[in-house]
Symmetry: C2
Subunit: 397 residues, 2 copies
């Protein structure tokens, strides 16, 4: 069988290889990219599902509008307004099957084969692959502890005139980094000035540990004339309510939004209305604030435990910036004292010791730094985190 | 903003225009393409959702395997085996976000811009659009009352060497037609002989009124050597359990299946696990047989009422084949006695009288027959169907 040419652009063996390692019994895994399902408010979701099936029976069981279930669109709009995007209206927001579908639809609408796309290096692996499947040439803009290097990004945009720039400005995956307020302004100014579409993917922004992060690009765009017309915001319930609902949302300029709706119609018609009506009931019941407080406290505690243990156990052999939210610590082997500098080699030794993480190379569309790695603290308790780091230290030798 | 070139291949204004007409108060609509949500077993689905959230809590609320929730894959496999595809294994079946996503993934995996695809004329509109969005040139194979004209199809395949042939062999949308057993064999023989991928889209096959239809291409492929390697079967729970779950499935040869899984990973990661665990519980509870009996009886009654009323009211001015299952009557204005022959013009008059259907032209990828139309009997009761047909008769004048 001859498959479509677009499949030639995607290489997935590196990831498959990784996940093969994780089947080992007794392994402490820092490799996952997922939130902790035990933090989900299962009773609240059950109550919401029952309310949906009882009160909104037809809406829950039938096909729905491709744009999404209007009461959910309204709830999500209110959620965004409460976070500072005070001028957003429900008509500007559509529901997607996870924010992953948002990426897929945007790529489908925007990217012709050979078009250029700029992403952070490192960034979310599935976004790189998604863009490549539509034939994009993916270009990397470097990041530091303050998020994407906007000075470099501006030059890359000028040089390459990309169809879009994809950013995770807050508690990035895998970087954990958060773009500063000043850089956020500059990104928006650049979008408006160069008429370049910027996608803000924001699945983690609500998972801050202490203080809230700077306002989203969406909220800030109200203050930067002309920027809203070149900005897409993608949100997700997967990390804050339940990944099992597979619900995200997308806020985009009207002409692009209309096209994403058309593409969604021919992709999956609509997102599960059982899930949508359940989510709408959940949000209407006002439980989200407590759910978020609970998750913030748990993840914050785990992040502190992991960072403290890494510092204590590895000293200057591993460098990292303490994340202020999200699910990940992004770290770099320094080679200090002659220690290992290759994260892939370290991971192989670590798996033999009964602990795993993800070497950083696959998160780069280009110019990978082989000394980098991602550690997730999301799903292990304090004792497991300490034991896992203990094994990591042993593995580094 | 400059959008992707692929969007230039799709024209949706004809459909939008249509649906604008349906907002009129008091209208009897035969225009819908949807099943009757009131036939859903809401108590059974509620029970299943509660069982899923209680017994499979983590599976219901977390991310899941891209291939689908294994207990659901096993239930769907058993469902297919019970319908004659006795050699199918759960590993050969993946869960999709409705069978619409099956089409999207198959198109993504198979179609490079300029590739050819053969579909029935008429066929499911969203399949045509889905294929065009991946740059396909869509070619039409004519149908008659016995489904696709296999003699013509064979010649078209030889002439065009398409990447795939898309068929709805049983109770087609919009045609209502069912491919005969003999033609089914010939399709499979052609697939094996010419090494041409055939997609069997089968959302309606379980909705027969009296006798079951001929075996699916999937079941029959066991008897046609070499055909299974060029056959994809797409199924859906949308018409038989609930469209709100947004769950379908796809059975494909291993090399193609692996690629659809990869594409699904970057499309929506996995289908809603809340929906999947609910569906698995529902199927395991053994309620499906009664649910199907109920739907078959209801749709069969409505189809008879509509066909009887059309024959009585319009005589030889309208020709159609009585469907043996599904949701649709496909009909053709004959112009007998000097009556109208244009379905679009009739529909405009009909809307003025308070009844609507879908003119047939948009269901053709090419060579549309403007005298054709689709009438759905799915969502109206007998009295409404009679009143609607009465208005149709008035409108034809």
């Amino acid at each position: 069988m001859t498959f479509a040419q677009r499949l030639d652009n995607v290489e997935t063996s590196a990831i498959r290889e990784l996940f093969k390692l994780l089947g080992k019994p007794g392994i402490v895994s820092f490799a996952g990219g997922f939130p902790d399902v035990t933090l989900c408010d299962a009773p609240g979701i059950t109550e919401a599902a029952n309310a949906a099936l009882k009160q909104d029976t037809a809406a829950a069981l039938a096909y729905g509008a491709t744009e999404g279930y209007m009461p959910l669109r309204e709830q999500l709009t209110a959620f965004m307004r409460a976070k500072g995007a005070t001028d957003v209206k429900a008509e500007q927001l559509i529901v997607t099957t996870g924010s992953q579908q948002g990426m897929d639809l945007l790529a489908k609408c925007m990217i012709s084969p050979g078009d250029k796309v700029i992403v952070e290096g490192p960034t979310f692996l599935a976004a790189i692959q998604c863009f490549r499947l539509y034939g994009a040439e993916v270009i990397t803009a470097p990041i530091d502890a303050d998020g994407v290097r906007v000075d470099v990004l501006e030059k890359l945009v000028e040089q390459h005139q990309p169809k879009l720039v994809y950013l995770i400005p807050t508690f990035g995956n895998p970087s954990g980094a958060t773009l500063t307020l000043e850089r956020r302004r500059r990104v928006l100014e650049m979008a408006a000035r160069t008429q370049t579409l910027v996608i803000e993917d924001d699945p983690y922004g609500d998972l801050y540990f202490d203080a809230p992060p700077p306002p989203t690009l969406l909220a800030l765009s109200q203050e930067v004339p002309g920027s809203r017309g070149y900005l897409v915001h993608c949100g997700s319930l997967s990390k804050i309510l339940s990944a099992g609902l597979r619900l995200g949302w997308l806020i985009a300029p009207p002409d692009l939004l209309a096209r994403t709706v058309m593409c969604k119609q021919f992709s999956d018609a609509n997102s599960s209305t059982l899930a949508q009506t359940t989510a709408a009931q959940y949000l209407a019941a006002g439980r989200m604030a407590a759910t978020l407080d609970h998750a913030r406290a748990a993840y914050g505690q785990r992040a502190r435990t992991m960072c403290d243990a890494l510092s204590a156990g590895l000293g200057d052999r591993l460098e990292f910036v303490r994340p202020q939210g999200g699910l990940f610590v992004w770290a770099r082997l320094t080679g200090a004292g002659g220690a290992l500098k290759d994260a892939k080699a370290w991971n192989e030794r670590a798996v033999a010791e009964g602990v795993a993480f993800v070497p950083g190379a696959p998160f780069y569309a280009s110019n990978a730094d082989p000394a980098t790695l991602r550690l997730s603290f999301a799903t292990a308790d304090d004792a497991k985190i300490r034991e896992g780091v203990h094994r990591l230290v042993k593995a580094l030798g």
